[in-house]
Symmetry: C2
Amino acid sequence: MSELVGNLLVAQSGGPTAVINASVAGVITEAGRHGCIEEIYGGRNGILGILNEELLDLGDEKRAAIEGLRHTPAAALGTCRYKIDFKKKPEKAAKDMDRLFEVFAAHNIRYFFYAGGNDSQDTSHKIHEEAVKRGYEMRVIGVPKTIDNDLPHTDNCPGYGSVIKYNATTVMEVGIDVGSMATDDGSCCIIEVMGRSAGWIAAGTVLAKRGNPASPPHIILLPEVPFEEDKFLAKVKETVAAYKYCIVVVGEGIKDTDGHEVGADKTRLDAFGHAVLAGAAEELKEVIQGRMNLKTRTVLLSYAQRAAAHFASGTDAKNAFACGEAAVKVAVEGQSGFMVKIVRKARPEGGIEWSTGLQPLGDIANVEHFVPKDWISEDGFMVNEKFVEYARPLIEGEVRVPTEGGLPKYITLEKSPVEKKLPPRA
Amino acid sequence: MSELVGNLLVAQSGGPTAVINASVAGVITEAGRHGCIEEIYGGRNGILGILNEELLDLGDEKRAAIEGLRHTPAAALGTCRYKIDFKKKPEKAAKDMDRLFEVFAAHNIRYFFYAGGNDSQDTSHKIHEEAVKRGYEMRVIGVPKTIDNDLPHTDNCPGYGSVIKYNATTVMEVGIDVGSMATDDGSCCIIEVMGRSAGWIAAGTVLAKRGNPASPPHIILLPEVPFEEDKFLAKVKETVAAYKYCIVVVGEGIKDTDGHEVGADKTRLDAFGHAVLAGAAEELKEVIQGRMNLKTRTVLLSYAQRAAAHFASGTDAKNAFACGEAAVKVAVEGQSGFMVKIVRKARPEGGIEWSTGLQPLGDIANVEHFVPKDWISEDGFMVNEKFVEYARPLIEGEVRVPTEGGLPKYITLEKSPVEKKLPPRA
């Protein structure tokens, strides 16, 4: 494989995570090790910024800022929810693709890395195929990123370990709080977590139990298990009878037996046409208070859970960085059209040896990966030891975040714009 | 003052905090230094447990457990929302008081410490007065505790520094997240925090700005300022025009100009007759989406904020411990009928020298302390430099929390019950 000389472009897409910047730091760090990579550019707000020729000169950033990306949450380059939709809007998509390649050519982009979830891997896949079709020599590698953990083929997705570490900690803390207030009147607290139609995030809070059945969470409602109100209320009642309180974790995307989302606000759709979900806990609270007269409070962590870099997983941050590094390494070696995946290998002496591998983007795009049925308890209200064995290593280790005046010290990039060479996007 | 020999009883009341156990650790530690204190007991679930003669033998706890209380959230002894209500239920209150003194006498309780907020200081005050009236020699000292920071006369209340440190961190993190997604469409995120009718907790999130007007939070809605929908929407619009996104922090107890709570669920009251509040953010979201068509998401931290010991304030935890120590010290010296207060003294070389003082319980009970008018910005949507100067030192320093498998390692007490000597409560 001949050496490909040119510029690198990295961009971030979709919902941010606590460690997506660590992947960008990995890309930049590794890029610095290869002479064939001339300039290192970032796309402002993902594909949307690239379409607008808004490129950032990452070579201009201070070394300390790149290092600081390893503990700074959210998308330092900016992100977007823009989708190049070949199915529903083929003409607009074709136009977008033309524009992208105009930008790539104008800036001699020969390495393109896109960190994102399902939709973004689809975008990378399309760009790779177009590059091949157009005979434009460019290496395209997807970098996995999603708190939802629903990408197939990778052991886990960067962002997931951190979100479940923070959420499990929150469940522990809220559980101790509610438990310490528990009297014979009983009480219930419902904690709603993200994850859309996959239950990985909700399931991950099982780690708060640390093997003790009496410890919270007492009930985990997974989108993978159809919600049945009567069975749920019976389980809450049983739990309060045993422990005087009940901590419920609910995935935002739970559906009833007819497939309707519980508490979904169906009037609003995001740019990908998905319903905006944020009402399951409130809906359940009303059900419990209405039918059981049990004092119930809700916690809606929302964005706080995916941005909580002050208590991110060391393992997750390391893997995220490694994914960025690996993407550049394999691209320089000549690969294109793959997503980096995380590979787990149990060490004979105990512990996990993490490494990276490659999976064709065509295998990833728009495939959703759910919590396996045999990792869910028989009654459907908990995950079992198989899940715990999977998830436990993902939250190990801490990320040292410097503080200033008692608050975390996160970095912001300079974001020097790269001079535009094209007329504005039509 | 003659030495008073006998047993000590400490109990916790009201909503837990991240550092209320640090105060109990202070009480136990200091008690161990005085020979006149024979047994160290805890009341299970506050006054309610004492009425039921449910005492715990804290002398039986391991030294490491007492040390662990300094970083363990919630009420390790259990807490309650039980009120001895002399005004509304005088007969029941008199009966309760008789029973309390039966329990005190049966167990030779000569030192009584109650950690709590306004209502609990009122309870301590009544118990002190009753002891004097009955000629039962007992020293009663209130230990301040409330995340709401609404106790008068003390510089701040243990629990407050930790809640605003965590909330300001969350606002920073959510702010970076939402900001990194901000495109020309604009977006809004509303973070609801606790504090009931006082705005201290909401105001404390101003620290997330670190002096930068462009940084979140962009709007803080305090219960001290009547909510006006049109002015609020104009401010959101102005903010989104300037920064493409808007982070709003709202205190749960905000009221409109008619004095009606915004988003209160008026159908439910707690044991003290206060309305259960948990709907302001959702209400504001509906207003914004309905009248501005701006994508808006909410975060409801609820119990998570007051239990977040994984990122508590070192200053707060130290002051909480000092309050517990001071309570025992002054009681042994002969004082009774006071609450320990926290005193701030600016060091000439910079920084704060924290100490404790005493305030008669009669000055504290049922007096609410609000954010001063001249600490609030002219437009009512922010607090000013005076507030920042007050709050900044309260979040300084971290508490070292040990971890195990990636999660905080909190302790639980053995809670050996003290043998009962009385017939059950009638």
